[in-house]
């Protein structure tokens, strides 16, 4: 019991998740339903995947605003390339080069972001703000403002498929969440992520090559943004040039709700998971209660500020106790 309480104090967002889960279960008859839970998981998986990478980047003390545009580019590439005539004879295998190209675009854009941050020393906020505008422009140039549709139904079938009782996309998300959690909490790279974000100078003095290290995390978030673009487009069987707009804001909201500090040095995947679920459950629950969409935004914004205020109060008291 005591352990559970300290755990909850360290991850207050899960207390909030529990609270809204109970609230919607009691107040809405359609909420507490396995099918609805599956919906929530699938809806969350898109933001969730990006949030995994964003957590690493933000613990580093950086940020990536270009994830929404990267998502759109990857989705457009994946759907367009699988329809190329070269691959016409490949059958369902034609999907593979499309998906690989999409993922590769994310990795390359992430590497480019990281490389510029490393070599120029310009703040990641500025670099990725530029990338956000520029990549979105690329998407419109590439797609000529057109939406693409996946002609191969195997692609959209994947988005609707299940592994056992769980939707494939949810399984994919949870699997990557586990991998990222292990990466962050158990590996050398994860430890260095905290060190670089916690005190960059001390990290340099400890022999950590900070530039290449940060580049790897930008590559990871780029990969996840591209992957999220692909999974999102399998859900819709299509991509639009405006796909993923404002996703960078939703992702950052989720990560911050999960307890990651904007200044870097602290944060966990478990917290991020809570943040992502909190947003997913709130949107789903209010939707079921037929709260109009714009009111949902007002409520979510208010909750973001309220939760962070609460978190600040909690940590402030914790610090006061420790100071002698």
């Amino acid at each position: 019991m005591n352990n559970a309480l300290t755990w909850l104090l360290r991850n207050p967002i899960w207390g909030f998740v529990l609270l809204i889960f109970v609230f919607f279960s009691v107040s809405n008859e359609f909420f507490f339903d396995p099918q609805n839970f599956k919906n929530i998981l699938v809806q969350t998986s898109t933001i969730g995947l990006i949030a995994l990478g964003m957590t690493l980047v933000m613990i580093n003390g950086n940020i990536d605003l270009s994830v929404g545009a990267t998502l759109a580019l990857a989705a457009s590439l994946a759907i367009d390339i699988q329809g190329w005539e070269v691959f016409a004879s490949w059958g369902s295998w034609a999907i593979l080069p499309g998906v690989l190209a999409g993922l590769l675009s994310g990795v390359l854009l992430g590497a480019l972001n990281g490389f510029i941050v490393w070599k120029t020393g310009v703040d990641a906020f500025i670099v990725t703000l530029g990338a956000m505008l520029g990549v979105r422009g690329l998407v419109f140039i590439y797609t000529q403002e057109q939406s693409f549709f996946a002609m191969n139904f195997a692609y959209s079938d994947f988005g609707a498929s299940s592994v056992g009782p769980l939707p494939t996309l949810a399984v994919l998300f949870l699997l990557f969440a586990l991998i990222t959690h292990l990466l962050l909490s158990r590996t050398v790279h994860g430890r260095n992520t905290y060190a670089v974000g916690g005190n960059r100078e001390a990290a340099v003095n400890a022999g950590i090559r900070v530039g290449p290290h940060m580049l790897i995390n930008f590559v990871i978030v780029g990969f996840f943004a591209a992957l999220a673009g692909i999974t999102l487009s399998t859900q819709m069987g299509a991509s639009t040039p405006n796909l993923g707009r404002e996703y960078e804001l939703w992702t950052i909201t989720a990560v911050v709700l999960g307890g990651t500090k904007l200044s870097g040095g602290s944060g966990t995947i478990i917290g991020t998971l809570g943040g992502v679920l909190a947003i997913g459950i709130l949107r789903n629950g209010m939707n079921l209660m037929q709260v109009p969409a714009f009111y949902v935004l007002v409520i979510l914004g208010t909750i973001l500020i309220a939760v962070l205020f609460l978190d600040k109060q909690l940590t402030r008291r914790g610090k006061g106790e420790l100071r002698t």
Binding site: R186, T187, V188, R191, N192, N199, E201, N205, G207, T324
Partner: protein
């Protein structure tokens, strides 16, 4: 003296934080025109007492009197309005504003419609700066001032009100000796004007230079007040830590081994030029000089943080080019940096993670970090350095300065370096931990490490070093063995007088 009305008097102050009794019935007074030093180890309650005085904390029990009028000080602004001003240890100035704006921050003179009255502002700020003998004008941007001058701005802030008591918290922490002299003159001027001074410092020599009386705190309790002229360092130390300290000259030399590290005509323009020295295994080489003499820059060059403009670095008699800290670490050079909080530690991380940070890449089992191996290393160095932390999970930011420094030293010892460079080994550390760290450095030398110690404190350099390199403005002025060095010739060498250039 005693029949005077105290400028500030505390009576039976008690302050508790959850689980800690930080102040346990402390009484204290400062008379007008008196400099009253407040001493105690880290955690003794000095900071808490100071915050009570300045209105940042409210006492649970006890009373505060200003000129024998009982007062309540709910905020720092109230305290200032009543004439009690705190000069912060960490400068809290708005860097991008002018000195004048900083001096009157929060109470800028106004004209109609809330416009700033610049004329009055600059005139009044200029007066105060002139009174402090500052050589910069009120319109100077603070970011362009040196640390010492920023401190002048901080002091000037205190003088905008009719100050009755001014509290200095470790004011000399980042000042050079020359700048200290200026600060002490200002303190004497304030005393002459009848202001009571509360002077908090770790540095015994300063306290004996500037204070009239001193009071000692230990573990949150008041231990006594002494008249400075009638006591000595020994008595004060005993009062502070409950035992006396050995601060003698280093005479015992270890068995010296081969030359571990040598610098030949090493230069890094314009920071230092044509520097020659070597250090053997089992030897402690001290670097002494004023702030800005180029000592830290030499250490940074050896560690790969700077690249030399000319000259050679030889490791085990072979020339090496140290490209980066990672490269230096791989070659067996370790640096305990000058400022442990900014450069040495990740304060939000736990003890173990900090200690294993440079070698964590080698502590793996499969793809993961090997927990057991990490804890084993932490335990080994915790025991060897007698680090006092509740557990390896304790967050380093919550430890005392001495224990934090031991974590940094342990971190580098665990790398089993051939050369250990320690920059300001005991800056901001209390007296008890200081001597522990000095003993540790001597013991490490005996066990065969080649050690370079950089320090601004003369007793420290004299105490730990086998040989001392004296630097002045980026050049080596002279090299002393511990037999030939005296305080006089050392001071002359670092001031650029009388010292012969070393060959």
């Amino acid at each position: 003296m005693t029949d005077q009305t105290p400028a500030l008097r505390l009576d039976g102050i008690v302050k508790t934080f959850p689980g800690v009794r930080a102040l346990d019935g402390v009484s204290f007074e400062v008379l007008p025109g008196e400099c009253h030093a407040l001493l105690g180890e880290n955690g003794a309650g000095k900071s808490t007492l100071m915050k009570v005085l300045a209105g940042m904390h409210q006492p649970d029990e006890g009373r505060i009197f200003i000129e024998e009028q009982e007062v309540v000080l709910p905020t720092p602004l109230d305290a200032k309005a009543k004439g009690v001003v705190l000069i912060h240890q960490e400068l809290s100035l708005a860097e991008e504003m002018t000195a004048a704006e900083n001096i009157f921050l929060g109470e800028l003179p106004r004209k109609r419609f809330g416009m700033v009255d610049w004329k009055t502002l600059f005139a009044r700020a200029g007066e105060i700066l002139k009174k402090l003998n500052c050589d910069f004008g009120p319109e100077t941007k603070v970011s362009r001032l040196s640390i010492a001058k920023k401190q002048m701005v901080e002091i000037a802030r205190a003088l905008t009100v009719d100050a009755k008591a001014v509290i200095f918290d470790e004011p000399t922490a980042s000042l050079t000796d020359a700048e200290k002299v200026v600060l002490f003159d200002i303190i004497r001027d304030l005393k002459a004007d009848g202001v009571g001074i509360v002077y908090i410092s770790h540095r015994m020599d300063e306290i004996f230079t500037i204070s009239d009386r001193l009071s000692v705190l230990r573990d949150g309790a008041y231990r006594g007040t002494l008249v400075t002229a009638e006591t000595d360092e020994d008595e004060v130390t005993r009062l502070m830590i409950g035992r006396s300290l050995d601060y003698s000259r280093n005479v015992q030399h270890a068995e010296l081994g081969d030359i571990a590290l040598e610098a030949r005509n090493l230069s890094c323009d314009p920071l230092f030029r044509d520097v020659n020295f070597h250090v053997r295994q089992g030897e402690v080489l001290g670097f002494y000089g004023l702030v800005g003499a180029g000592r830290t820059e030499i250490a940074e060059t050896l560690f790969g943080l700077r690249h030399p403009s000319s000259g050679q670095i030889l490791l085990d008699r072979e020339e090496v080019h140290v490209a980066s800290p990672a490269d230096a670490i791989a070659r067996g050079i370790s640096l305990v940096p000058e400022s442990r909080k900014e450069q040495g530690l990740v304060l939000g991380m736990n003890c173990r993670d900090n200690m294993t940070l440079p070698q964590i890449g080698d502590l793996t089992a499969g793809p993961f970090v090997a927990n057991g191996a990490e804890i084993a290393i932490y335990d080994q160095y915790r025991d060897r350095l007698e680090i006092k932390a509740p557990s390896w999970r304790s967050i380093v930011g919550n430890l005392s300065g001495g224990n934090q420094q031991k974590i940094v030293i342990g971190k580098w010892l665990a790398m089993k370096p051939r050369v250990l460079i320690v920059d300001e080994p005991t800056r901001g550390i209390d007296v008890g931990s200081k001597s522990e760290i000095h003993n540790l450095i001597r013991e490490l030398a005996r066990s065969g490490y080649a050690i370079i110690v950089i320090s601004s404190e003369m007793p420290e350099v004299l105490h730990v070093s086998d040989r001392i390199v004296a630097m002045y403005q980026g050049r080596v002025m002279r090299e002393f063995t511990s037999d030939e060095v005296t305080e006089d010739n050392l001071v002359q060498a670092i001031s650029g007088i009388g010292g012969e250039r070393a060959a």
